[in-house]
């Protein structure tokens, strides 16, 4: 039943049938009273939440394993449907800015130009890379493939790298605020940060290079003190936080699975 279907005609019939069934289910859900919808959501959440641990904890391949791939496909199809909603959201928000000529409407125009050109170039690169263009020479990219390369590698990647590089400046301003010596904690933070920074630059190693490499005094060398701070102080603290959060995550997952977390999705309506 779960094997791929080789007959293309039958495939189309099944796709159309699935669409009709999906629309019917949506219509029934939409017209049903809220408490019915709530129980449908609670039931599906419970069954979906039950499947994954059962399949995982029953040893080896079991009667549930066969459903693993179809369920993964189902999730992908559901996500695919919501991408359309994301695009509709963007078009509505930016379309309104343009129609109402809000003060920032040029940004919305930039969105439409970027969105349409990226989509068109991406689709042509994928399906018709030589459309309306000369055939490429040996070792050359087809016109739309070259355009796609310019858009992605020449524009999108440098833009994202630019935003990422801003982080360096933000780290400096955040560090300045965090390290201002006002309290005992800030002073300790400042000293620890100074040691770790010096431990990671050549000048730090050079500053304490006159200290012995063996015995108790070796711990006063910046590289050793920095290593000690990161592995013996910072790492256990981080693990402690992670440890607490992991148990918290288990509790939250249980609350979601049993639909106890009423604040979202199931609502109080």
């Amino acid at each position: 039943m779960l094997a791929p279907i080789q007959n293309p005609a039958l495939n189309w019939v099944l796709v159309a049938g699935s669409l009709v069934v999906s629309i019917l289910i949506l219509m029934v859900l939409h017209s049903s009273p809220p408490y019915v919808r709530r129980w449908v959501i609670v039931g599906i959440t419970f069954l979906a939440g039950l499947y994954v641990p059962l399949e995982f904890y029953i040893p080896k391949h079991n009667f549930l394993t066969i459903w693993r791939d179809p369920i993964g496909d189902l999730m992908r199809v559901l996500s695919g449907f919501t991408i359309g909603l994301g695009i509709i959201n963007l078009v509505i928000v930016h379309g309104r800015h343009i129609l109402q000529r809000t003060p920032n409407f040029p940004f919305s125009l930039a969105f439409f130009v970027g969105f349409i050109s990226m989509t068109v170039v991406g689709l042509l690169h994928r399906y018709k890379p030589e459309l309306w263009a000369q055939k490429p020479g040996a070792g050359e990219l087809a016109f739309w493939s070259a355009a796609n390369k310019v858009f992605f590698e020449g524009m999108l990647l440098p833009l994202t790298s630019t935003v990422f590089s801003l982080l360096a400046f933000f780290i400096v301003s955040a560090a300045y605020r965090a390290f201002r010596i006002r309290t005992l904690e800030a002073s300790l933070l400042m000293v620890a940060a100074l040691i770790v920074m010096l431990a990671n630059v050549p000048i730090g190693t050079w500053l304490t290079s006159w200290l012995p490499t063996e015995g108790f005094l070796k711990w006063l060398r910046f590289e050793n003190a920095g290593l000690w701070l990161t592995t013996q102080i910072n790492a256990p603290a981080m693990r402690g936080i992670l440890f607490g959060a992991a148990v918290g995550s288990l509790g939250a997952a249980l609350r979601i699975w049993l639909s106890i977390e009423k604040s979202f999705a199931f609502g109080g309506q």
Binding site: K60, I83, N89, V163, I241, V247, G267
Partner: protein, 257 residues
């Protein structure tokens, strides 16, 4: 995906912890009174909403960078509470998202929250915005939103990565009151440095229980605390007694899953 290895401690541990949390929920539903300690960061949410209302400016709630996962669900639940408060003052919340599934969930939760808060007409669907699935495109979109809308309060709850500081520092420069909470341990220092209040570690998963004071949610938090005490005791006792434990016990405890 592999299957669980029952020759290791992990499957037993997970089911034991689950049972303990379940017991906490059961005890709470039977009427056991439970206490949760004060979380100043969460108390500050109302102050932040009030301040944004006084200034007549919107608030921004960023539910992290992840898709459908437990931290994001938790963030959406917190957003629901913030929206209920905002509805009381008829304030505006802008919620940029990076995942289209979260977009639909967030819209539904905020719509219901505004209705519960008594101001369904104050909800603006266009304020729930899908910006981009790309990390830094999303970050630059959020930074642009903050600057254009001159937000008065920022809430950062959910899973974050390198963009956390870009967002929080922009908010700081704008003078917005900022409250953050994340289970992403690497981002916690950034939020502590740039935000007014930060929820860390397990506190993140206790926020909805703290906000609603629902006995069943408090029961799950109580169960989690019992789990932490048990796990810590297990680590300490087995570490101290490792020289006296038989080899098969050591193997059982230390074998990778």
């Amino acid at each position: 995906m592999e299957h669980a290895n029952w020759n290791t401690i992990y499957p037993y541990l997970v089911w034991t912890l689950t049972a303990i949390i379940g017991l906490g929920i059961l005890l709470a539903s039977l009427g056991k009174k439970l206490h949760i300690r004060r979380l100043p960061a969460i108390d500050a949410i109302e102050e932040a909403v009030g301040r944004a209302t006084e200034m007549g400016r919107p608030m921004l709630f960023v539910p992290g960078l992840a898709g459908v996962d437990v931290p994001t669900f938790q963030a959406i639940a917190i957003a629901g509470h913030v929206a209920r408060l905002a509805a009381r003052y008829r304030s505006r919340i802008i919620m940029p998202v990076t995942d289209t599934v979260i977009l639909t969930m967030a819209e539904q939760v905020l719509r219901e929250a505004y209705a519960e808060g008594g101001a369904p007409d104050a909800f603006r669907p266009e304020d729930i915005r899908f910006l981009s699935g790309e990390q830094f495109a999303f970050a630059s979109g959020v930074v642009g939103l903050m600057n254009r809308e001159r937000v008065a309060a920022n809430f950062f709850f959910g899973s974050f990565a390198a963009e956390s500081l870009i967002l929080a520092e922009t908010g700081q420069a704008l003078g917005a009151i900022q409250i953050a909470g994340t289970p992403s341990t690497l981002q916690i220092p950034f939020f502590i440095a740039a935000c007014d209040f930060t929820v860390i570690g397990e506190e993140y998963y206790a926020v909805t229980a703290y906000l609603t004071r629902e006995p069943i949610l408090l029961g799950s938090v109580w169960g989690q605390d019992v789990c932490r005490i048990l796990l810590t005791s297990l680590i300490f006792t087995t570490t101290l007694a490792q020289k006296f434990l038989p080899e098969f016990v050591i193997n059982f405890l230390t074998k990778a899953g």
